[in-house]
Amino acid sequence: MVYNTALSYVQNNEDAEEVTQDVFIELHRSLDSFKEESSLKTWIYRIAINKSLDYLKYRNRKKRMGILSDIFKKDSLEPAHHIADFEHPGVKFENKEKAKILFKAINTLPEAQKTAFILAKVEGLGNLQISEIMNRHVGAIESLLSRAKENLKRELGGFYKE
């Protein structure tokens, strides 16, 4: 659950393992402060999502710094910060190519839409569970999911080759 969620965000095995480690250390550190206002599963999901989003921000910052240093480095001929296509190991064989493109499109979504979409489509959670995790009304989740689908359709359109 934790690794799978992290993998959908960071889209790289090593990075997902690093996030998973951070999540479990955080869980161990703050287990005493866990108030049973929400279920343990919801709480773990929240930590996993926050850690994944933090990691993405950290990686983007690092990427920006890398691009800057590449500009000043004269001898670099190839782009060092190319992100490889992500292949989720759990995707059905016949969907692999389309899923690769879909994950690329998911990367372009705003944080809240991305979270709602990942929880619904990758984790297979219902709107009620997602609303608990994201601390929003069910209606808000429905709206987030519908906006995410619209944005993804638009984004996917750009990848279509005739």
Binding site: N13, Q21, G90, N95, K98, A99, I101, L102, K153, G157
Partner: protein, 98 residues
């Protein structure tokens, strides 16, 4: 009727249907356990921090108190030395006697 492009977009959007959970490498759990163990050794609880701070304050207080009492002792012994000099008229040798 849907265009080929529209069909492709819809199919791509549904590409995650029936997706299975991804599993990390088995070594990850060992690494996590090791990390937690390490943190356990190095992390101080707030209670321990308070005890350490209180001990330092107590030491500083005792130190100050001892220094103060030593200062009083020095003045007292200096006073008694002057009294002896006066009593026995012990003047320094470089001062001419009348």
């Amino acid at each position: 009727m849907q265009t080929a492009k529209q069909q492709w977009i819809d199919a791509s959007l549904n590409a995650l249907e029936g997706i299975n959970q991804a599993e990390p490498t088995p070594e990850l759990w060992g690494r996590i356990a090791l990390n937690i163990q390490k943190k356990k050794v190095s992390v101080l609880s707030p209670y321990q921090v308070w005890i350490a701070a209180a001990s330092i304050l107590l030491l500083m207080f005792i130190n100050g108190w001892v220094l103060n009492s030593l200062k009083g002792l020095n003045t007292k012994s200096k006073n008694s030395a002057y009294r002896i000099i006066e009593l026995y008229e012990l003047n320094p040798s470089n001062v001419e006697l009348p």
